[in-house]
């Protein structure tokens, strides 16, 4: 977090310095647009002005600077703050397909054992990955990235998205990523309980090295500590300087994650958390945020069919006719057994619980933000639709969930999330409200840079 802070200070100083010494680079302005703010407000016929990647003015009563390159939206464009992906593996190199069998499976070494906290996305990323362009077209301008991996896959860093070429080096370290993923076949740890034990031992080893290095600084006569990059990368956890972003979905995994947190008392953020609703009260009590996946389970077939039928019937019937029970129509078909009916009830209940995950968490007062995790971006629309139809989510729920709430969990809320003066100019221009059918992103402004689609 320290480095994050210094990064921002540095950036601000740079901007400040350049404005004094050099001639100001030209501003950009978009006028006659509809701005959808993160807090749910909508400003029509509004204007947004940015320069040097920072928003200078935004609102309905804005004077456009004389040097601004101005585009007139003609009141047909919709501007959204850039969505922030709380955690994703976009651009990550793939995992090795058939990793070599270690000579001693019980001591496979750090990397083969899935222990890679030293990996930095900025170093391993395929920054020209098509996933970034796709994400920008879906409205994302910023993402916390982590490489694909195992129990300790690497660092989490924040990136400004940029099409085609490198995701420019505008990033900052946010913390470490962790999960209960077993090492690739044929190496320890091969079980979740093994991952737990391995993690503990790593922390014990890191603690000992940390102490040794501390002693050595004061007492150069004592034996020299042996440097160990992997263990040293765990120091931020020992010093409680950075959180562990931990991928956990089931109740049992979240419980285990909390056991480890309690043993070593670092900060933790739940990533993905598909069944985090089962732990809502505890997460709230401990103020542990969730970067929630919206990759929802498929709608049960029978339920999708009955909904389709209902919708068709509604269309057919006059408005005042009895809506009727869709199941009545099944009477002609083969009889459904009691057992099947009972099962379907259970299945639907389980499905609804999972679909309501984010809502349940929010209602319990848990801080929740968006994360793609390993969802394909093309599935975003499908899941957003389910959230709107089943859970009753509206734009007013979705926008903060994908912008300000994520920014707050990542600790960058002072710099991004909503569209206001002084924040980073990252936003997306849609041809209609983004939740509407066939809404399309026309431009993405990421860190002030304009991309046309």
């Amino acid at each position: 977090m320290k480095s994050l802070y210094s990064f921002w200070v540095g950036l601000c100083l740079c901007v400040f310095y350049s404005t004094i010494v050099y001639a100001q680079p030209p501003a950009h302005a978009l006028k006659n647009i509809t701005i959808h703010h993160a807090d749910g407000r909508i400003s029509e016929s509004a204007t947004i002005v940015w320069r040097n990647g920072i928003i200078e003015e935004v609102g309905t009563n804005v004077t456009i600077p004389f040097d601004a390159y101005t585009i007139d939206g003609g009141d047909s464009l919709h501007i959204y703050p850039g969505f922030i992906d709380g955690m994703t593996v976009w651009g990550s190199p793939d995992l090795p397909k058939n990793p070599q069998r270690p000579r001693d499976p019980g001591n496979p070494g750090y990397e083969r054992g899935g222990i890679q906290p030293d990996r930095e996305p900025s170093e391993v990323l395929k920054s020209d990955s098509k996933e970034f362009a796709a994400a920008m077209k879906a409205g994302f301008t910023t993402a916390a990235l982590v490489p694909k991996g195992y129990m300790l896959p690497g660092q989490v860093e924040l990136f400004m998205l940029s099409e085609k070429e490198t995701v420019k080096g505008v990033y900052a370290e946010l913390g470490l990523a962790g999960s209960f993923t077993r090492a690739a076949r044929g190496a320890y740890p091969s079980t979740i309980m093994g991952v737990m034990a391995r993690f503990r031992q790593l922390m014990y080893d890191a603690k000992a090295l940390h102490e040794h290095m501390g002693y050595y600084e004061q007492n150069p006569n004592m034996p020299v500590p042996q440097s160990d990059e992997v263990l040293e990368d765990l120091f931020p956890l020992i010093e409680k300087e950075a959180p562990l972003f931990f991928l956990a979905n089931t109740r049992e995994d979240i419980e285990k994650m909390l056991i480890l947190k309690d043993e070593f008392s670092y900060d933790v953020v739940v990533v993905s958390g598909k069944e985090a609703y089962t732990m809502a009260a505890e997460l709230k009590a401990r103020d542990i945020p969730v970067l929630a996946s919206i990759e929802l389970p498929d709608t049960p077939k029978f339920y999708a069919a009955s909904k389709k039928k209902q919708a068709a019937k509604k269309k057919e019937d006059t408005p005042d006719s009895d809506e009727g029970d869709a199941e009545d129509d099944d009477s002609g078909k083969e009889e459904q057994s009691e057992e099947e009916k009972a099962y379907q009830e259970k299945q639907l209940k389980a499905w609804k619980e999972q679909v309501h995950n984010i809502k349940t968490l929010k209602e319990a007062g848990v801080r929740v933000g968006y994360a793609s995790v390993d969802m394909k971006i093309k599935d975003l629309g499908k899941h957003v639709k389910t959230l709107m139809e089943e859970v009753g989510f509206t734009e007013a729920d979705l926008i903060p969930f994908m912008t300000t709430d994520v920014a707050a969990i990542l600790g960058v809320e002072n710099k991004m999330g909503n569209l206001e003066k002084g924040k980073i100019a990252s936003f997306t221009v849609f041809d209609k409200p983004f939740t509407e059918k066939k809404a399309k992103a026309l431009h993405s402004i990421s860190n002030g840079q304009i991309f046309d689609f």
């Binding site: 320890y188 737990m196 049992e252 056991i259």
Partner: protein, 476 residues
């Protein structure tokens, strides 16, 4: 239906409603719920004080409060008439892999640092099936791929609760060891590392114990020096010795805090481990399977070692060719505390039959046979002060049987854990799953956790053959 349990004051219809509500409540039960119940007019098999006819058992707030005739039901306590039926302590299975996410961390010959407490799945329907067999506690064990495997976890079958809710609070920690073919096959033949032979198995144990003792000395010396340095802030600080999870567990075994349960078959390897344990001062351990234990029964008795065996199952691989259905009886006669275990999600549902075989083959007394599935496993798990018999002050873990539990016709009708009813045959609906995959439709979900036909071969070896898959399904 009328023959089944009938609540004293309610009609059958009400009974069903009550049961439904009751069951619904238990499914949502919070961790470690305690219940109260008065079971009347049963034949009570106490295990420790003989069989008591026409007797009532009062369980209040999860604990057995009174045993006697014509007990009064305190206000609000459910009354069950069990006239003509038998009440027995809940069966305890000292060897189970019933609901583990993972069973074997098979990547190292020594994995003392892992624990099955972190592999408990509280949602498996197999838990309910075990309850339906009158089982109330299990010893969830690590597999037998490693010489020193992971720690076990003793569970109470609180179906419908969390991992924490299933823990047998206060039960001592345990650990799995394994001798013979399994560890030599996985590590020796499979990966070309020690142990390749029974000699190697012994060596792995001795080397690990020695290393653990060395570590303990170094760690304690460091902690002492550190305390001195931190106090005086003078001199040279010590080089830190990191805590070692694996060796901490081994030292826990030497200190008697962790009970060893050792997978073993042959008499020679059983004797070997007793020699090793005598060298390191390890006491109070149990040999699991132990098909040749009868050959060394006096030696086992002399060392205070326990056995936990199958009633009559052997010849499923080379090291198990030599055995006998009289094993349990011989061990019992020689004063060895012996239990009968299932090691199987199927067999666990009728461990009473397995106990009956001991009477059938060896003529062991009925009470001693029942001890082998109640009090004796409790002793082996260090929980005999809490469960294993029906005595005032013990936990309300009991089952009601339709007939004497050693009868082939006997079925468990109701099972209570801490006084809470988790199984009621009168209200045994079709689908007792509490965890549903919303993506599995009815046709796919119908074959859930199929009860295996017959015995599950090599249940102990789950997940052990990731590297040597060709051998994975050979059972020799």
């Amino acid at each position: 239906m009328a023959k089944f349990l009938i609540f004293n004051t309610v009609s059958m219809k009400k009974l069903i409603i009550t049961c439904t509500v009751f069951l619904g409540m238990t499914i949502l039960a919070s961790a470690q719920e305690k219940g109260s119940v008065l079971i009347q007019n049963a034949t009570v098999i106490t295990i420790t004080q003989g069989d008591l006819e026409n007797t009532d058992v009062l369980i209040q707030d999860g604990v057995i409060k009174q045993i006697g005739e014509d007990l009064d039901a305190p206000r609000g306590v459910t009354v069950i008439d069990a006239a003509g039926k038998y009440v027995m302590p809940g069966i305890i299975d000292a060897h189970s892999h019933l609901n583990g996410f993972d069973i074997n961390e098979a990547m190292n010959p020594v994995t003392a640092e892992v624990s099955m407490e972190e592999s408990v799945d509280p949602t498996r329907v197999s838990i309910y099936r075990a309850l339906a067999g009158g089982v109330t506690s299990i010893h969830l064990m690590h597999g037998s791929a490693n010489v020193i495997g992971g720690q076990g976890e003793t569970l109470k079958l609180h179906y419908g609760t969390t991992v924490e809710g299933m823990r047998f609070k206060g039960a001592p920690r345990t650990i799995k060891f394994a001798l013979g073919e399994n560890p030599t096959r996985v590590h020796g033949s499979g990966r070309g590392i020690q142990p390749r032979s029974r000699m190697g198995v012994e060596q792995v144990i001795r080397e690990t114990f020695d290393a653990a003792q060395d570590y303990k000395r170094n760690r304690e010396a460091y902690l002492e020096a550190k305390a001195r340095y931190d106090k005086r802030k003078k001199g040279t600080p010590p080089v830190p010795v990191a805590q070692n999870l694996r060796y901490d567990v081994i030292n826990g075994i030497i200190d008697g805090e962790i009970l060893v349960h050792c997978h073993s078959y042959r008499a020679d390897e059983i004797l070997m481990l007793m020699r090793v344990f005598n060298d390191y001062g390890v006491k109070n351990y149990t040999f699991q399977h132990a098909n040749e234990a009868f050959k060394v029964a006096p030696e086992l008795a002399k060392n205070g070692a326990h056995t936990s065996i199958f009633a009559d199952w052997w010849a499923y691989k080379f090291e198990v060719y030599y055995s006998t259905a009289y094993n349990a009886t011989i061990l019992n006669e020689q004063g060895v505390v012996n239990s009968i275990n299932s090691d199987s999600g199927e067999l666990i549902r009728h461990l009473n039959h397995e106990a009956a075989k001991v009477v059938h083959y060896g003529g062991t007394s009925e009470n001693d046979a029942l001890k082998m599935i109640t009090l004796n496993p409790a002793i082996q798990l260090g929980i005999d002060d809490r469960v294993g018999s029906i005595e005032v002050g013990k936990d309300g873990d009991v089952a009601i049987w339709s007939a004497h539990p050693l009868s082939i016709y006997a079925i468990a009708e109701a099972t209570f854990v801490d006084g809470v009813q988790y199984f009621n045959r009168a209200n045994d609906t079709d689908d007792m799953r509490i965890s549903i995959d919303p993506e599995a439709d009815f046709t796919n979900a119908a074959n859930f956790e199929t009860i295996l036909e017959g015995r599950e071969h090599d249940a102990c070896m789950k997940g052990a053959f990731i590297l040597t898959e060709t051998a994975a399904h050979s059972h020799n």
